[in-house]
Symmetry: C2
Subunit: 144 residues, 2 copies
DNA sequence: CTCTCTGCAAAAGGTTTGCACGTCC
DNA sequence: GGACGTGCAAACCTTTTGCAGAGAG
C-alpha cells in the first residue's frame, strides 16, 4: 500500500512523477501538483502562469505564483513544455511538443492547436548567413 | 524657399506631414518627429517604444516615453503601422503594411522582413465556426 | 477659442530576483 | 546532511492611465 496517512487532493499518478524524474527534476509537492494538472490526462493544454496558479489553487494546493513561474521555466528547460508567443504581455505555455501551429482568439485570449499537417508551408526562405531556423511558428489570429 | 528661420533637426518632409493628415492625425511636433524617423526614407522599420524613443532623443527631440507609446498606438489605429508579436514582454511596430512575415533573431531581438512571396502557405485550416482569420503570422525564429 | 495632444508621474500588469527557510534524497 | 526548491516581498520592465497645461486648427 502507499502512504495512507496523507490523502492529499493532489495525489500524483506514478507516470507524472516518473516523467519529472526522467526530466531530471525533483518530485516536490508543488511540481507534482502542476505536472498533474498539465500532463495527467495526456490532453494538450495551454496555460499562462496566472491560469495555472488558479488551477492549482482550485484543487486546494497552496503554492506561490513565483513558484509557478519557476516551475514553468524548469519544465520548459527540461523539454516538457514550450512557450507560445502570441501576445506581448503574457506568456503561454503549451504541453504539446510536436510541431504544430495555433489559432489565437484575440478577444478571449484562448489558444487552440492546429496539427502541423493542416498547415502546408511548402517553401521557406533560407536562414540568413550563419543562422539556423530553430522554429517556424504559424499563428492564425481570430478576431471574433 | 521654405521656412528658413527654423533649421530644426527634425524638419519634417512634406510627404510625412501629408501622410499624417491623410490618416486624420494632427501634425504635432512629436508626431512629425516620430513619423519622420519611421516613414521618411520609405525603408521598412521595426521599432519598439524604447528604440523609437532613443532614436528621437538621438536626433535631439525632447518628448516623453508615454507620448511615444501614445503615438505608436495612434499610428497603428490610423493604419500607418502594424504590431508584430514575437516576444512576450515587448511589442514591435512594423512600418511595412503589406502581407509579409518575419525572421526573429532571438539573441539580439532583431526583426527582419520576409516577403510574402518567399513563404508559400499553401493550405490553411478553415476558421472555427463563427470566426474569421484576421491575420496569418509566420515567424521564423533564429537562435544564432 | 476650442478641442486635442503632450508630459509627467503614478499605477498597473506580468515577470524575475534575493534570501531565509523548508524539504527531497 | 547537503543540495536544491519554495515562499515571500520587493524589484523590474514594459505599458497604460489621469490630469493639468500646451499647442494645433
Amino acid at each position: 500500500m502507499t502512504t495512507l496517512h496523507k490523502p492529499s487532493p493532489d495525489q500524483p499518478r506514478p507516470d507524472v512523477a516518473a516523467r519529472l524524474r526522467q526530466a531530471g527534476l525533483r518530485t516536490t509537492r508543488q511540481r507534482l501538483t502542476l505536472a498533474e494538472i498539465l500532463f495527467a490526462d495526456g490532453c494538450d493544454r495551454h496555460v499562462t502562469a496566472e491560469s495555472l496558479f488558479a488551477a492549482a489553487a482550485a484543487r486546494g494546493t497552496r503554492l506561490s505564483l513565483a513558484t509557478v513561474y519557476n516551475c514553468l521555466h524548469q519544465f520548459t528547460n527540461a523539454g516538457l513544455l514550450r512557450i507560445v508567443t502570441v501576445d506581448s504581455g503574457r506568456a503561454y505555455f503549451d504541453t504539446n511538443l510536436d510541431p504544430h501551429h495555433h489559432f489565437y482568439y484575440e478577444k478571449s485570449g484562448e489558444l487552440q492547436d492546429i496539427p502541423a499537417a493542416d498547415v502546408a508551408v511548402s517553401s521557406l526562405p533560407a536562414a540568413p548567413e550563419g543562422q539556423r531556423i530553430s522554429r517556424v511558428d504559424v499563428i492564425l489570429r481570430l478576431d471574433g
